[in-house]
């Protein structure tokens, strides 16, 4: 440090730098991507702190500003979105030129802004948040909570001066369908840097009260405003709320992360109010309908029973009469059958008698016929036969005697010349002993001779 050195004043150095930068960069413009770490507005001018990070480490920083005229022009082109783009945390694509001021140092002067870059970045961030919530199992956590069919105590989180906040209350308390609600407001900014913190706090606060539901409302706004509701911290607070959260944060197309995480999300605060009073009304109507239904069915059952009863009673009479008539008929049938059977029996008996008598007559006549044919005729035949036999026999007998007579008749022998001689009427041949000297009579055909036996000697 003791050596004589060429020295400059700071002003000289800064002037030199100023010159250098002006000479080299004054007319050059660059499109730069950076993240806004801080944004501030003063008298219509915007002052931003930009940074660039790599793997969580900051590797570049620079301040930037946008003068009122440029801002107004660009903001008009972007439909007022520019203020929303200039929010810390946003990644932005800026057209800048480099400025060096001897007092304020190096700065970027913003000439133009390309919002698409930021939007894309926001979308990416939203996706990352959703993914994280999913990983942490927070995304559907609210759905585990019980949402009563009738919600009467409501914690309302929102900005009290916004139309959304007022609309919600008006709808809820002044509709003609159901308005028996109690609302406790938990004011919180719904846009801007403080919004997330305030809403997170409001949710925590509301959880300490005996409310049925937490309603977060916002009266509509820009795309960049909505980005607040994509915040991870807020989503986490909603997811972890022990009380069901209903969102009505007024948007047209894009659903915010808060909507996704909430138990129920409606498009507008009015819609949330309607949801709540309709829910109560539906419940009431269900109750009444059920009761009416019960009454109707019960009346139906009773009248059905009465009908059933009427019929049973009628059948009772009918069937009883039927039975009695049946029995009367049965008795009549029995008597008739008895009559028929009796007559049959009598008729059968009559035929039997006739048959018997016929049989008797037939047998008797048969017997007579038999007697006539067999007895009498046969006997007569026999008599004839035996008589004839007797006659024949006698004829033979007489004939035989006649023959014998003819044979024995001596007259024929006498005629032929033989004679018959007898002694004492005995034939000679029959004589025995001495009959000499006796008188013998001899008969011939012509003569009867008497003689005395002189001599007798055997003829052979």
């Amino acid at each position: 440090m003791s050596a004589r050195k060429k020295t400059y004043t700071l002003a000289q150095l800064n002037h030199s730098l100023e010159r250098f930068i002006r000479d080299n960069f004054a007319y050059k413009q660059f499109w730069v991507i950076a993240e806004i770490t801080k944004a501030q507005e003063k008298n219509g001018h915007y002052y931003l702190e930009l940074a660039d990070s790599k793997e969580g480490k900051r590797i570049a920083e620079m301040s930037a500003n946008m003068w009122f005229s440029a801002f107004t022009q660009v903001n008009r082109r972007l439909n007022g979105e520019l203020t929303k783009l200039f929010q810390s945390g946003n990644k932005v694509l800026l057209q800048v030129k480099i400025d060096f001021h001897t007092i304020y140092g190096l700065k970027l002067n913003i000439l133009d802004v390309d919002p698409d870059m930021t939007y894309g970045d926001l979308e990416r961030k939203k996706k990352e948040t959703i993914k994280r919530l999913q990983t942490e199992e927070l995304i559907n956590k609210q759905l585990d909570l019980y949402l009563a069919p009738v919600i009467k105590k409501i914690a309302l989180i929102g900005s009290p001066n916004t139309s959304g906040f007022r609309d919600f209350q008006t709808q809820l308390l002044e509709n003609e369908i159901f308005n028996n609600f109690k609302i406790k407001a938990f004011p919180a900014a719904v846009q801007g840097e403080k919004a997330v913190t305030q809403i997170v706090n409001a949710i925590a606060e509301a959880n300490l009260y005996n409310v049925d539901v937490i309603v977060i409302v916002r009266g509509g706004g820009s795309k960049m405003d909505l980005h607040v509701f994509n915040d991870y911290q807020m989503a986490k607070a909603i997811a972890k709320s022990a009380i069901p959260v209903i969102t009505g944060i007024g948007h047209e197309t894009d659903e915010s992360v808060a909507d996704i995480v909430a138990h129920i999300s409606e498009i507008t605060p009015t819609a949330v109010a309607k949801f709540l009073y309709v829910r109560a009304a539906v419940f009431r109507s269900n109750i009444e309908t059920s009761f009416d239904q019960i009454i109707k069915i019960v009346q139906g059952i009773i009248s059905g029973r009465k009908d059933e009863f009427y019929h049973l009673n009628k059948y009772l009479g009918h069937y009883t009469k039927d039975i009695l008539v049946n029995h009367q008929q049965q008795l009549k049938d029995i008597i008739h059958e008895i009559y028929i059977e009796s007559r049959e029996l009598l008729d059968a008996e009559r035929s039997r008698l006739r048959l018997q008598l016929n049989k008797i007559g037939h047998e008797a006549l048969n017997k007579i016929e038999l007697k006539k044919n067999l007895d009498l005729s046969s006997k007569m035949d026999k008599i004839e036969m035996f008589a004839s036999s007797l006659m024949d026999q006698n004829r033979v007998k007489v004939a035989n005697l006649n023959d014998l007579l003819a044979y024995l008749n001596p007259e024929e022998l006498l005629r032929k010349g033989y004679t018959i001689s007898t002694v004492d009427d005995h034939e000679l041949n029959n004589l025995e002993g001495d009959f000499k000297g006796k008188k013998m009579r001899t008969l011939s055909h012509k003569w009867l001779v008497e003689s005395e036996i002189i001599n007798v000697k055997p003829s052979k």
Binding site: M380, E384, M391, L401, N402, L404, N409, E427, N430
Partner: protein
């Protein structure tokens, strides 16, 4: 010689038999001989007539029966 009109067939037949027996036995005397023979002949005729009569009668009886 005449036969007794009341003579019965059986008696006649008996008599005839007797005469025939007498003739067989030659127990007839020469004096009786021609009378007996004549009587026998008469008896034969008698019997025959009787038989004929009886037969006729029977035939008549039977006939009337069969005509019934």
């Amino acid at each position: 010689m005449e036969l007794d009109k009341n003579l019965k067939y059986d008696e006649a037949l008996e008599k005839l038999q007797e005469i025939v027996t007498l003739l067989e036995r030659k127990e007839i005397t020469i004096d009786e001989l021609s009378g007996k023979v004549k009587e026998a002949k008469l008896l034969v005729e008698f019997c025959r007539e009787k038989l004929d009569e009886t037969e006729d009668e029977i035939k008549k009886i039977i006939k009337t029966d069969q005509e019934d």
